[in-house]
Symmetry: C2
Subunit: 197 residues, 2 copies
Amino acid sequence: MPIPDIDHLVGLVARLPGLGPRSARRVVLALLRDPRGKLLPLARALESAAVSVRTCSSCGNLDVEDPCHICRDPARAKDVICVVEGVNDLWALERAGAHRGVYLVLGGVLSALRGVGPADLNVGPLFERLREGAVKEVILALGATVDGATTMYWLQEKIGPYRVEVTRVAQGVPMGGTLDVLDDGTLAAALSARRPV
Amino acid sequence: MPIPDIDHLVGLVARLPGLGPRSARRVVLALLRDPRGKLLPLARALESAAVSVRTCSSCGNLDVEDPCHICRDPARAKDVICVVEGVNDLWALERAGAHRGVYLVLGGVLSALRGVGPADLNVGPLFERLREGAVKEVILALGATVDGATTMYWLQEKIGPYRVEVTRVAQGVPMGGTLDVLDDGTLAAALSARRPV
Ligand SMILES: [Zn+2]
Ligand SMILES: [Zn+2]
């Protein structure tokens, strides 16, 4: 299909996460089949998001205002900071209604393999608040991966001198999950973190 | 995440084929993380495609011109018409360089279950050319499904009176495919269509 407009569009869509050339072609066809109902509304929503969405300078969240609606919410405990890897994790915790404090979005985790060092992580706002003595608890909510564990260990070390409570999310059996599909590490962690019922 | 701009965008993306709420959030986040590099270029490509892309009135293909570049190509055999279900099939055959004639995109196949009848299919241009006596061969290249087979049978019946050659694509073992994962129907068809080597 030597049609530059369509080729270009398929190429852009194919570079999005979870999509490839094949699914990109399907998506573009679905859009082209319904220009008024699908294609133009999406174009406009993207355009408008590009103009309005910004990164919260105090937590790294995405919102149309800076500070974001969570940082501005007077009902949220500003002294309980939940550290997450990405905005997707923040969204997941918000959907679960699991956290009533504020967040810090690192924008990644330390990774020797991918060359991510401390300078690449958004930790400035956290240590600023620690220095101000405005923090009671830091919750480390990073993934149970090698890189996640390394990052949590590094943060724990750096936060240590400030004498605030540092906790980390529990590892265990996911809700609705069966034990036999879990890896040994998770099983061991779930067993050792057992609680009386 | 009560952010209307982002919610709206996630909702639109989640309705695209092959995507759901979860993958839509991933896609939208990737776009928002790089407004200049990803988000705006995509918005503009969509906008421009919405303005420029149209459906070819003689074959149903999508192109920036009507008739499309295939129908306008003097090197293509106008009297050999390959009937396909959708533009995706046309694209696949073009990528394979498998057909040197022209196409007819039906825009669907007959389906009692989904309520798709003959009036819903783009067959007008085909019968117009048959009436003009401008057709030598009609190749039925529909999927080997019940609906595809029904549609091919119906087309064969309708084309019969025009006394042109009607062929259909061979069924068989896909290139690179192993026999043991194929269903019985495909295996039987592949065996009965065997050729000397
Ligand atoms: Zn914030
Ligand atoms: Zn055409």
